[in-house]
C-alpha cells in the first residue's frame, strides 16, 4: 500500500498501517451503561490484546 501510494505520487507517506473499524447499534439506558458494554465486548471478543489496541466513540441515536 505504501508503495502504491508512493507510485501514485504521494510523497512523504510513511508507516502505513491497516486496522479495523467496526460499527454497531446498542441498546442502553445511558452512556455509562453503553460504555461498560462496549468495553466488555472489546475486551472479550472484538480485540485481541496480544496484537491489538482499541478505542471507541459513542453516539446517541433514536430508534
Amino acid at each position: 500500500m505504501e508503495n502504491s501510494l508512493q507510485a501514485l505520487g504521494f510523497a512523504g507517506v510513511d508507516r502505513v498501517r491497516v486496522g479495523k473499524y467496526l460499527e454497531l447499534f446498542l441498546e442502553a439506558e445511558n452512556r455509562e451503561e453503553a460504555s461498560f458494554k462496549v468495553e466488555e465486548m472489546s475486551r472479550r471478543l472484538l480485540s485481541n490484546p496480544v496484537i491489538e489496541d482499541y478505542n471507541y466513540t459513542l453516539q446517541e441515536v433514536k430508534t
Binding site: 472479550r44 471478543l45 472484538l46 485481541n48 496480544v50 496484537i51
Partner: protein, 237 residues
C-alpha cells in the same frame, strides 16, 4: 483410548484428522460438534484446520468463544490432551489456552507447501516418541500463521521449553528461507506451561501416508497414543 475431533462451522480438515486416527492408526475417534459441552470419555481432543466462521474478525476468534471451547478449557484443566492444528492452533491462542497470537503471513500471501520442522522439546505427550533435533516434513496451508509474542513472553516460552516445533531447512537449520510466514524465531508450534495443550501451524494429519508425500506426522499421534496407553495401564501392573 478415544480421540475427539471438534467440528466448527467452517472446519475443513476434520475429516483428514478423523481418517488418520480411524483408518491409519486404527484408534477410536468421534466428531464433537461446536455446540457440545461434554468431553467425558475422551483422551485426546483435536482442533482441526479450516476457516472456522469464515475467519471473520480474526482467524479462530469466533470459534474460540463457542460452547465446546469452554468444555475444551475444562478438559485441558484436568490434564486432557489437546492438539490444535493450523486453524485449531489459532482457536487455542484466541481462547487463551495457548500464549501469543497468529498474524497475517509476512508475505501477505497464502502459503501452501511442504515444510520442515525441528522438534525442540521431546518430553511432551505429543513428542515423546520422537527426539530433540529430529526434523519432520509436513505441509502448511495458511494465510495467518505468523506467530507473534512480545519479546519477554518469547523468552519465557524458550526458557520453559514451550517452543515445541521450529521451521527449519532440510538440514535442520532455522533459516529465514525456511520460515514460511515470518513467525518470531521460526516458531511453528508451542505448548502451554503444563505441556498438555499444543498447537502447530503445519498439518501432521496430512503427513500420515506415503502417498501424501510424508509419514513424518504419524509420530505425533503415536506419541499421544503411547502416552495415553501408559496412563491407562502402568507398565508394571
Amino acid at each position: 483410548m478415544k480421540f475427539g475431533v471438534i467440528v466448527f462451522p467452517g472446519s475443513n480438515c476434520d475429516l483428514d484428522a478423523y481418517y488418520l486416527v480411524r483408518d491409519v492408526l486404527r484408534e477410536e475417534v468421534e466428531y464433537v460438534g461446536y455446540d457440545q459441552n461434554n468431553l467425558t470419555g475422551f483422551d485426546v481432543i483435536i482442533l482441526p484446520g479450516g476457516f472456522t466462521y469464515g475467519d471473520y474478525l480474526r482467524s479462530g476468534a469466533l470459534a474460540s468463544r463457542t460452547q465446546v471451547m469452554e468444555a475444551v478449557a475444562g478438559f485441558a484443566d484436568t490434564g486432557g490432551l489437546v492438539l490444535g492444528i493450523c486453524n485449531g492452533f489459532q482457536v487455542l491462542t484466541e481462547a487463551g489456552l495457548l500464549p501469543g497470537a497468529l498474524c497475517r503471513n509476512d508475505s501477505l500471501q497464502f502459503r501452501c507447501r511442504q515444510v520442515y520442522v525441528r522438534v525442540e522439546n521431546s518430553s511432551l505427550p505429543v513428542t515423546k516418541r520422537t527426539a530433540e533435533g529430529k526434523v519432520l516434513k509436513m505441509p502448511v496451508a495458511h494465510g495467518d500463521g505468523s506467530f507473534y509474542a512480545p519479546p519477554d513472553l518469547l523468552q519465557e516460552l524458550e526458557n520453559r521449553g514451550q517452543v515445541v516445533f521450529r521451521y527449519v531447512d532440510e538440514a535442520g537449520l532455522a533459516t529465514v528461507d525456511a520460515n514460511p510466514n515470518g513467525s518470531s524465531d521460526n516458531i511453528a508450534g508451542i505448548a502451554n506451561r503444563r505441556g498438555n495443550v499444543v498447537g502447530l501451524m503445519p498439518h501432521p494429519e496430512r503427513a500420515g501416508e506415503k502417498a501424501l508425500g510424508s509419514t513424518d506426522g504419524l509420530v505425533l499421534f503415536e506419541s499421544l497414543i503411547g502416552f495415553c496407553r501408559g496412563r491407562e495401564v502402568p507398565d508394571n501392573a
